[in-house]
Symmetry: C2
Subunit: 258 residues, 2 copies
């Protein structure tokens, strides 16, 4: 498509990127008396401080799914840190345990905010991270969690919720928000209640937050997860919505990390 | 951020793109007995057939605003063609005339579809255009128009509505849609009626169209237009929403023109 001009015998100094070398490690950290077990990923071929991205897990807790997302973020050049909200000794083995764990934090937003802020602090103090360029992303109840992180008044550049519940039990806290908010939702997600969406929109609007929301037609809950860990017609993978939402996140990062 | 390796004294054959040379011209064409005056833009430094993008104007008719968008599209490497929906002799001079012109086509969707399809045909027959890679974008009532183009069953890859009215007087026609649909809307657009949005969503959902919609917080009607040509608190420019929506369009094109 492009008109190309061949220039031969050019003597040039060329800059070549070294191949990515993704490093990962488990990180033990604390929130109050709780011991938490997070996961760090970064590209060892990148030098210097770089933006950091906190990854918050869905209701099954910190699984290989979030670790894979952290590795994908590391491949983009970011330091990615998967927070552990539930605690080192709380790893749900089935949907019943997952529901109980998620429910505990959903009904105790103060604790939820404390746990996610502990993860944020852990990310920010990493020597590879530029603490002025920080984002948080979350999946399902992790999406809810990153919005709570913003509502807590945390200092970061932006949060991205992927198919997160957007109920707003403390809408007045939106005045605390210091970052941009991007929500990516399935247009047919049966777990996303219209009244929650309306409350979220009002919360953002009333506090004049810089916010956006995209709805992907045909996508239900968990649209980014090839294996959501349970069978439910209201929750399954959607390759197009997965790809598009990842691109939307990348565009958002390009803007907030400028 | 990237680890760079300096390679000196490298003898290489480098490919260099020629600088863009944007060409524009007025194009007279017909729909039935009506004479229409469109506007074409392309980069003369690009060779070979390339994707074509139809641009549909807002209620003030084909103005410099749409021509500028066509030039921006040409700079991206596309052939852009601004359709003339109203006709060569219908160029509104004020909002009263604009309202009358837009109202005529809004209430006669059959004529609207005929006019926009005439523009599509004109674009497709351009010798620089790959007729298998076609999109249409539209602003305000032009956004409504590109959705009508999709509803008419036109053969193209995708349509993008920027702050377009999304009312759906003929929802059953969604079964005709052969392309992807992206709607980009102001979350605070007072001209976007909730019942129209709900009707649009139902229309898309029921026909299993590949559709998406993004709402930009803080954005009202005409958010892409620095000078909407009239003063109304419900319609003004929003730089962030303009930039973000243009990026969303570029991502959409990257997907549909693969």
């Amino acid at each position: 498509m492009k008109k190309l001009i061949a220039v031969s015998a050019l003597i040039a100094a060329c800059a070549v990127s070294a191949p990515a070398k993704i490093m990962t490690k488990t990180v033990i950290y604390k929130q109050g008396d709780a011991t938490l077990e997070g996961f760090l990923a970064y590209d060892d071929a990148v030098t210097g401080k770089r933006p950091g991205v906190l990854v918050v897990h869905q209701w099954l807790g910190l699984t290989n799914y979030e670790k894979h997302r952290a590795e994908m973020l590391a491949q983009l050049g970011y330091v990615a840190f998967c927070a552990d909200i539930y605690g080192q000794n709380s790893r749900p083995h089935n949907v019943q345990e997952a529901g109980a764990a998620a429910g505990k934090f959903k009904s105790d937003r103060r604790l939820l905010r404390a746990r996610v802020n502990a993860g944020l602090d852990e990310l920010k103090k990493n020597e590879l991270v530029d603490p002025q360029r920080i984002a948080a992303i979350g999946y399902c109840c992790g999406g809810t969690t990153v919005v709570e992180l913003a509502l807590s008044g945390a200092e970061l550049n932006g949060v991205v919720s992927f198919h997160g519940g957007l109920d707003a039990p403390n809408p007045a806290d939106a005045k605390n928000i210091k970052c941009k908010v991007l929500a990516l939702a399935g247009a047919d997600d049966p777990f996303q209640k219209p009244e929650d969406l309306a409350a979220f929109e009002s919360e953002m609007r009333d506090a004049k937050v810089d916010w956006q929301i995209t709805f992907y037609g045909g996508a239900v809950h968990s649209f980014t997860q090839p294996d959501p860990g349970f069978v439910n017609p209201g929750a399954h993978y959607n390759e197009k919505a997965d790809r598009r939402s990842w691109q939307a996140m990348k565009d958002f990062f390009a803007e907030i990390f400028k």
